[in-house]
Symmetry: C3
């Protein structure tokens, strides 16, 4: 059990922080002195200019999705945790930027082997303004699109930030701030490795696995990491409790273990709705920008398909949740739109519009069932990140194998994205579907295990750094905030007049209070 930190431990940690900062700054300074940028003979063709504009603007939309995630996740939380969620969503993008710049981009798109890139770390300054084939010795997997390397890096960076953000909502309302920050850094690295397999010319790409804009690469990777996180973290205090004798039991509010599901409703649906619109808008950039070119037909088609997918996801989730809860639910409308968008992400360049409507609709229905199922399993996901990103991410990746049109239908699908044949329902046979299933499993197992190791490693680090005289190591307790902090809300960390010192002083009283909370809310351990 963790003990109150001594003055020494705090000083140790404070020094660690300062050294980390110093390290970053020194690394930058070293690199900056060494980076002689050569003048590059460059002529801008209209096509290059168009492609670059398109990729940069869509990248801006993807960047803006971080605002959407911040609004959706903070809106869905209880008000006493909102500031913490906002802070996590703000800092995570900065952390992802550094991680992806220093290591991730090299891992993902740099030349290397089938499993990891081993070139192009820190975005070599002499390559950065080059376009197309000029950097083929370092980034072979990116040479096909005729835009500057900086533009590609910017676009991919916004994707990495998005993947890191997905976890933030699932682990909200109970995780330590520093644990989340560290995990975000590591997640960007694992995201880059699995991304290499699919987008960086790795073994899954060579097998024929196709994920156009990242149902698997981005969303299900974020989803797996989130799922492992919430399994290790355990549910929020008071989320599942014993039934009192006078409670009315219904199927709806009983878990598979016979506990009562306590609703912890969203505190600001206005934020959440705005966030949903921002995310949907961002998704237009997410999917259409993944063309990395501005082929008119392709981008118009992908954009329309994304819109239809999201709209049908909203309809699916709205009607299904209305049936289940006997009233409309704005939360499920929001998650339905996101579910529709995630579902269509992998296949948006390959399917026709009616298929897109069907895929989105199923995504909307799935998210309702998945959210109910998870809740009944006592897996506590405050914002529904796992149903939306993991479950629909898997469904979207399967949809490529089911609904892809024959490559002769869409000129771009063969030309740019190397789709060899259509899906099961459009005459392409079962091979593509089997490859998709294989890819889902391989990426899932790797990310799930990596996340487990990362979460456990972080919790052990916290255990080791803290002054925990004699207490046993416990993953959940190390990753979580003190129980009384969770009860009063994580924002107490940010509040005026509160600081870590005071929280430590309160810890001893909290030990006593904790036992009473455990009795009252019947927390499982």
């Amino acid at each position: 059990m963790p003990q109150p930190e001594s003055q020494k431990a705090r000083r140790k940690r404070s020094l660690l922080l300062k050294y980390a900062c110093l390290l970053v700054v020194t690394a930058i300074a070293l690199l900056w002195i060494s980076s002689a940028t050569a003048a590059t003979p460059f002529t801008d063709s209209p096509a290059v200019a168009e492609n670059t504009q398109w990729v940069l603007l869509t990248g801006c939309l993807v960047f803006f999705m971080n605002a959407g995630f911040a609004m959706v996740e903070s809106g869905f939380c209880r008000s006493a945790n909102a500031i913490t969620v906002l802070a996590k969503n703000l800092i995570v993008f900065a952390i992802a930027t550094v991680a992806y710049w220093v290591l991730g981009f090299g891992f993902m798109f740099g030349d290397g082997n089938d499993f990891i890139g081993t070139n192009g770390f820190l975005l070599p300054p002499d390559l950065s303004p080059l376009t197309g084939k000029d950097y083929q010795g370092v980034f072979n997997s990116l040479k096909w699109a005729a835009i500057p390397l900086t533009a590609k890096f910017f676009f991919q960076l916004t994707f990495a930030g998005t993947a890191a953000t997905i976890v933030s909502g699932a682990v909200a309302e109970r995780i330590k701030f520093s644990a989340f920050m560290t995990f975000s850094f590591l997640l960007v690295l694992t995201y880059s490795i699995t991304g290499h397999w699919i987008w960086g010319g790795g073994f899954l790409y060579k097998l024929g696995f196709r994920d156009f804009a990242g149902s698997t690469v981005v969303h299900s990777v974020g989803g797996w990491a989130a799922l492992m996180g919430i399994l290790l973290l355990q549910p929020r205090l008071g989320k599942y409790r014993r039934f009192n004798p006078d409670d009315k039991r219904t199927w709806r509010d009983t878990t598979f273990y016979g506990k009562k599901i306590i609703s912890m409703p969203a505190h600001n649906l206005s934020s959440a709705t705005l966030g949903c619109f921002i995310l949907w808008l961002g998704w237009f950039g997410f999917n259409t920008g993944s063309t990395l070119t501005a082929n008119s037909q392709a981008i118009a088609h992908v954009l329309l398909v994304t819109l239809i997918g999201g709209a049908m996801g909203a309809i699916g989730a709205t009607f299904w949740s209305w049936q289940f809860y006997e009233k409309p639910s704005l939360s499920f409308m929001v998650n339905g739109i996101l579910a529709g968008c995630v579902s269509i992400t992998a296949s948006c360049a390959f399917v026709n519009i009616p298929s897109a409507a069907f895929i989105g609709f199923c995504g909307g229905v799935l998210v309702v069932y998945a959210a109910i199922f998870l809740n009944k399993c006592q897996i506590d996901d405050p914002v529904g990140a796992v149903p939306v990103h993991l479950v629909c991410g898997i469904w979207g990746t399967l949809a490529v194998g089911l609904f892809s049109q024959d490559p002769s239908s869409y000129s771009w699908s063969k030309q740019f994205f190397n789709l060899d044949k259509g899906g099961l329902f459009f005459g392409g046979g079962i091979n593509l579907l089997l490859t998709q299933i294989f890819g889902i499993v391989v990426v899932g197992v790797f990310t799930f295990l990596f996340s487990a190791i990362a979460w456990i490693g972080i919790s052990y680090l916290i255990y080791a750094v803290s002054d925990t005289s004699g207490a046993d190591f416990n993953v959940s307790k190390s990753l979580r905030v003190f129980p009384q902090e969770e009860v009063v809300g994580l924002d107490s960390l940010f509040a005026e007049g509160n600081n870590i010192k005071r929280l430590k002083r309160e810890y001893i009283q909290a030990q006593r209070q904790r036992r009473s909370w455990e009795r009252k809310y019947n927390i499982r351990e």
Copy 2:
């Protein structure tokens, strides 16, 4: 008078919902099997690529206007109705998407007669990736712009969603959720029909009626539908009440019928202001994207004119409302900007910048007078949708006839938009103005009547489906929520632990309470 639903009636409705879903899914499945997409020989010229990028990006901005409407409308409402408004604004876009995809786009731009399009429903997959003249057998009215049909469809779809959203604010705080959803679907259809007259090559277009980006096509159509809705719905409970003997009467707070106007102030002006900025931004896309090409001069001119129009609208409304209320009003600043934008929408490609400033300024002044006038008529519009969209929509359409420059001034006005001569004040004579007036009247009468039929039809449907043993049919009562639901706020429908069952249980008590409310607030019936 409606009676509490029986268990049977609820089940009947629930079945209806399920069948509706099934129908949609089956229709999609049928279409999807039948849609063989042929490979299309397509070469992207730089011009096509530029036009497509422009139309898609501006379409994204128009899409984002839905977020703006959601923020403005929910912010202007009282807090106990905010979630309902948000949910309406979110689902309405999904509904509009389906309605416009299945029927609306064919009605509006498909070839047919002068009154309605009869071709091109469900966006024929074999046409969708074609550009320009290749689909002239089906969509003759769209063949002039060299961009893929999918891009045009996407852009027009976002417009249809916008028109549907306008109604949502006006009928807020009292309408049944399902009534609004059904009306939205029908509104998209009538929008498409009147749109065919003007943009789809119908009789108004042939007569010379010009509405560049939709002051009439979008805004006043939405405004007419909203006006009919609020006339049939009646004011919110307690909005207009008898004067108590000790109330001070002023001209400002007395209606023409001698009632006292009770202010029901906005609950979140932060949302409303953000929404206003989002709408203004979206309007840049709304007006400039309506060029459907990326003619540099035209888009730069239109964008600037839209900015100036909105800014002058803000100034007009701010000063006039400051004079009237003796203090500044943020609500009127917001509505002034929207009014300026609506006013300039029809003429933005045809007028010079000083005219735009004048048109916007007048729009801002008009919206203040219109809001005061409506309120004194006891027509209750919680967010000011009718003053903004209807009154300024009419003014904007007239402005084309007054301020249009001679077509020789702007190369694009003749070339792309077939403007034959200037307006009354710029040497073009009175003909254009008279045509504009004719168009306003025709579209107004049609939409107003169609809306009446639609609203009454929906209310009868609700009356018929509900278990209303012996009660008389009353439009307002069928469309409105139960009085006690309105008093506690419509969000009770969405609230945790509330559902339709419980609301029914409370109905009998509410009958008694209602009479007391009627006495207290002096509701006119």
Copy 3:
């Protein structure tokens, strides 16, 4: 001391307002009649179209920054002042539009002398659709970029609006609404004059001073005006008070004058975080659009550099404030991102990515120290506008002289922006740095003095117009709202049922109350 206004004084002011409106409208009408727009032979080349699209879309992003400022500033204020801040941010853009259209653009970019432009007021309609060199007799400083003049005007207009908005947050919670509106108008004029020196071909440009996207032109100008404003206005009531005997003194909460710093925490960090994302997004437009062309390499590089700068600013501010306050601070994360963006604005086209990271990081650290320092000086800046825009604006301008790459490194830096040699650390010698320092000082002195004159002039005007029989003239008292209005919150001006009349009635009681407030909060005078 100001006295309650008499009925006469109020009527006088009301007439003044009406005349001002009339004047504007008449000016517009005169111009509008006189403006015969000639048809212009115009052929759109692909390059022109691309450039125009880019500049217009990035201009839209800059426009949207106003929403970001509104959200950040209102979120950082106390809730009883939020509506006032929102209203200021909304109307200021409308005022800036008019000021810049009528005078500013001519002052800034019109041909004239080295100190001010004397041509091109009111955007001459015959020039507006021309591209590139065709308007070289009037706007020589803009002829290099091949886009329509309207596009340039639109882009520059959004910048002027941004500069005006910066002041709004610093003077929040105590300034009179009308004083702020008047100052905004004047600020746009001084912004245009100093802008002429740097971007309009004036003397600083000729000396070799370079400020790519406006660290000095926009941000530090806004910052100087804000600093003078808050020096004249004095701190908010109760911000700094005497220590009570039982207060614990720490270095952190003691000013240099021995007063206690009272924290007045942000009321809506959800708004502020959203605003921060919007501003960061807008900055991508701010910096990349300043190329005024769509050179692929340049825009991709600038965009990436802006992203990295903001991210490193966030990291710098987060860690440094964490060290100082012993807990993370969302406010400093937000201001750190803004600080990073401001810091990189001047040099974004000239520095490499590691330098950008370093510049942004230092900006983030600087903003923490500057905020603490200002607070200890008893200079009360509710939202941190001075640390962010002034301090980092100066640092960013210096960074050009320190970190600029040799012009041979980036093809665009010589070609488009006439950078002659690199900065001190990249072999260019100390000359560029000295020129930058000279420019910072000259612009700073001019803006600071101009602001002083403007603020004092406005306060005297208010003093003269008000009915202040015999009271002494006091700048702070004339510019500030009545004390009791400040104590109940400035939103009382906007609140239902309140108006200036009632506030006057309450004034006499307030005189008495004021003395008690002064005793209680120990206000320094």
